[in-house]
Amino acid sequence: MPLLEIRGLSTDIRLSRSTVHALDEVSLTVEAGETLGLVGESGSGKTMTALSIERLLPSGGDIVGGEIWFDGVDLAAASEQSMRSIRGGDIGMIFQDPMTSLNPVQTIGEQVGEPLVLHRGMSGSAVHTAVRDMFELVGLPSTERSLNTYPHQMSGGQRQRVMIAMALICEPKLLIADEPTTALDVTVQKQILELIDRLRVERNMAMILVTHDLGVIAGRADRVSVMYAGKIAEMASTTTLFAWPRHRYTEALFEALPERAAGTGMELYSIPGLPPDLVSPPPACRFAPRCRFAIDRCRTIVPDMEAVPDDSLTEPGSVQEFACFVPCTGPLLSADELVARHELDARPVDVADRAWVAPTTEVPEDGVTLLRTEDLVKDFPVTAGAITRRRVGAISAVAGVSISIGRGQTLGLVGESGCGKTTLGRLVVGLEKPSSGSVLFRGRRVQMLRGAEAREGRRNIQFMFQDSYASLDPRMRVRSVLREPLEIQHVGNSRDRNKRVDELLDAVGLPRSAAERYPHEFSGGQRQRIGLARALALQPALIVADEPVSALDVSIQAQVLNLMKELQRDRELAYLFISHDLSVVRYLSDMIAVMYLGKLVEIGPAADVYARPQHHYTRGLIDTIPIADPAAERAKARLGVRGELPSAMNPPSGCRFRTRCPAAQEICARIEPPLQVGGGGIRPHPLPTSSGPASHLVACHFPLNTEAVVHKTGRKGS
């Protein structure tokens, strides 16, 4: 008998005027000790499934049908009293955002110990001892003092460790982890996932891992359930699902992943349209309206779960189940095969589909580098004292960064949060004043421009924000949003501006009627299109895009990325593309720059940096970021960046990465390695760096592959 068996679970959420049918006939099982991955886009019902099991639905939410058998009890019908004894006892739960999920005014010792008080009736020093043991287990300092820490005094990774300790302290049989690492940095994400996995195995605990990230699923789950619009689309063992998905939705999800198309120059497959509104879901297959392969039957009959044998599981009778009338007939294509197929049907980019092809930028093509930064430095002063506000130190956000971007090029900027990539973007746009160094736009210092020239200058560099909702004035119609930059810059008369608004909406693929609507009426992806349209309004030469797709679902992300690429081709736009997601950066960029704690540690052609990283940090990042390939995920399980980002207030001497670097030696603390071809220490006669803008530079005393290079040259010499 499985540990958890959900049969035909339906959950509704009553709103004031309508009812959202969040889950519809969801069935799944979890065996003792196994990890089930629950994957889907936002609104697919994966979190609702998790919350239904614990009966922790938001207000208005109710289980309206089905059974949830856990350990011999039907949780859907259990009394509130018995639910309370199961929650935190036999079922532990970890939530997405550890900052908001912890009580800000209680010490972590108190919070972690609470389940023991509730379920085991323990008190006083017994709780203390147990909590300290648990802290030891999850890698938190286990002194008496650390019990009295408050959540705000810890880092994000530590807080998630607290959440894990809290969920596991009563040794549950089932752990539900709802997007446990989405709010964390990639390097921390990996450490947290490893910790959960280790404890799960040690305690032979079953786990439901809810996530939108196929990469996370690939490395951690035994079996996967794919959800779409409140229904299970497909269920299979992880290896099978990633090799040969049957449901057309699963297939489309894989094809929308940027890492598969990276380096091929191909457009991503983007699922057209939006997920359905679950107030009145499509009558038959819910994916049919967006599906390339949908036939008439898909729109009239609800597809039943079909089962085929699943070979990759050793247990007899394992099946791959899917609800699709037109399942995929063969395994997923590899990247190489994709390219081959792409060349075969070499579909020209459908320019004809667009009503309007944009005029290019107003910047002449004369060989002057579009944007350069020279030794850009930004320190944020840290002050103390109520009256005197004396300066007690500085946060070194950007420390001597020189980059250049050519016309029509994309420079991808990656690094963990806190590495200074956003500050660099803001410096380039002029939202921050540099402490020293300069930003040169076409050879002229941006800070030196005054008056009309300065206003003119600002047209050429525009910003695209991460949070499309917060960055659009909720009380302005889209027309006003798009007209505002034109008005500020006195472009044309009223009629010209309205015409430009129409053109911009065409360019970003929104209907012209969108101009009369308000930002909240759009979905996240559509809002990001509006953000892009606003950035394009003044025909800039460079757009600084700060994490423009990180809040979007995979299928929507592909739409926006494709659009950005297309506009770049049309208009010779340049992008400074800031992201923590290496695969997205790799897909879009010509050059990749890697930042660590304010320093540029490596820069070079995208393919080269990705394939042959020379800095240990770049290498670590690549190894850390989960990719949607179970084999690759397991192969690099033991690799990656360890520890957490040190404070930028007193950055480490010498090489700032040395505290986390596997190759660090004594010289790394003494001498800061210069950014140069091939890395190494300071050379009396530096190699000529004028080998074009595409040279691969690294700031490391002991760069990766150095030996190989030495070996090769040595052989040549002999």
Binding site: R84, G88, T100, N103, P104
Partner: protein
């Protein structure tokens, strides 16, 4: 912590000094000046000149100000010719009474408003919530003098439960001996703030019950009562503490309208009468006391905020 309080006290002194400058200048701008007000409208120019000479009122403003400031620092707020008594002795007599009235009203507010707000939030959009909401809107909107008169009419005239007038005795102890007479003024004063604070508390609790940490507590198996008392309450009180601190100045300044309706001899009534009779030294004294109470109230609010919210560092 102690350093912080000292720094804040220094800031407070600066604020109070600025207030005294403003008040001083305002009083200078009054028509006729102090001599006119004290000697009456029929005073001859010669009498006024003599008075100004005697009281240093013909000196430059800046000297006058520093002279006055020196007096205030030593607790000398001048002499009320109208009441023929020194202002400081008047303030010493009135301040404790006002503190009793306003303090008890504030206490009643806290005791009543916070539970009402919590119950409203827990049972939102149910009968109790609707009734409490309707009542709080009525009390918030109704003028204090109206509520006071209605209470006198009902509970003193129609039902002879309480006397219509506050205790008139001089000391503090007699007030408590005649506590029946204090009930109506306290209730009148409290009703308005109960209406306000129950709304604040309701929305503060509502803000918190939908927070992620409450879901976490539920996922640990905590009961709803425990969630409310152990988790929500302390978080919900954080904004309330600040609001309470900000209402402290009213405690010192006294409740002008309530005190005059019930003829309660507190600071409010003192100020009211002084204003009507152009008794400037009294007004000056009350304003300075209130300014001081305001900065101290803010300081207390900040310190208690730090005590309840570990994220706030002083």
């Amino acid at each position: 912590m102690i350093g912080y309080i000292l720094r804040r006290l220094l800031q407070s002194v600066a604020v109070v000094i600025v207030v005294t400058i403003i008040v001083f200048l305002l009083l200078q701008a009054l028509p006729g000046g102090a001599a006119h007000a004290i000697l009456g409208p029929r005073a001859t120019p010669a009498q006024i000149a003599t008075f100004n000479e005697q009281n240093g009122l013909n000196q430059p403003l800046i000297l006058q100000y520093f002279h006055d400031l020196g007096n205030w620092v030593t607790g000398n707020f001048g002499f009320s010719y109208k009441l023929n008594q020194s202002v400081s002795s008047l303030l010493w007599e009135r301040l404790p009474k006002t503190l009793i009235l306003s303090g008890l009203a504030l206490l009643l507010t806290v005791i009543v408003a916070i539970p009402i707000g919590i119950i409203q939030a827990v049972r939102r959009n149910r009968t109790f919530d609707y009734i409490a909401t309707a009542l709080s809107f009525i009390f918030y909107a109704a003028p204090t003098f109206f509520i006071g008169l209605v209470l006198i009419d009902w509970f003193s005239q129609k039902l002879p439960w309480f006397p219509p007038e506050a205790p008139q005795s001089d000391g503090i102890i007699p007030i408590f001996q005649d506590f029946d007479a204090m009930v109506l003024p306290i209730v009148t004063l409290a009703l308005l703030s109960i209406a306000g604070f129950s709304r604040y508390m309701r929305s503060s609790v509502l803000d918190n019950v939908n927070q992620d940490y409450v879901r976490t507590a539920r996922a640990k198996g905590a009961s709803e009562t425990r969630i409310l008392t152990r988790h929500v309450l302390r978080n919900a009180l954080i904004p309330i503490i600040t609001l309470l601190g900000l209402s402290l100045p009213a405690l010192f300044a006294g409740a002008l309208i309530t005190e005059s309706i019930f003829n309660f001899p507190g600071m409010g009534l003192l100020f009211w009468n002084a204003a009507q009779q152009s008794d400037y030294p009294i007004e000056l004294g009350v304003v300075i006391i209130t300014a001081f109470a305001t900065v101290i109230g803010n300081l207390i609010a900040d310190v208690s905020l730090a005590a309840i919210d570990p994220r706030v560092q002083l």
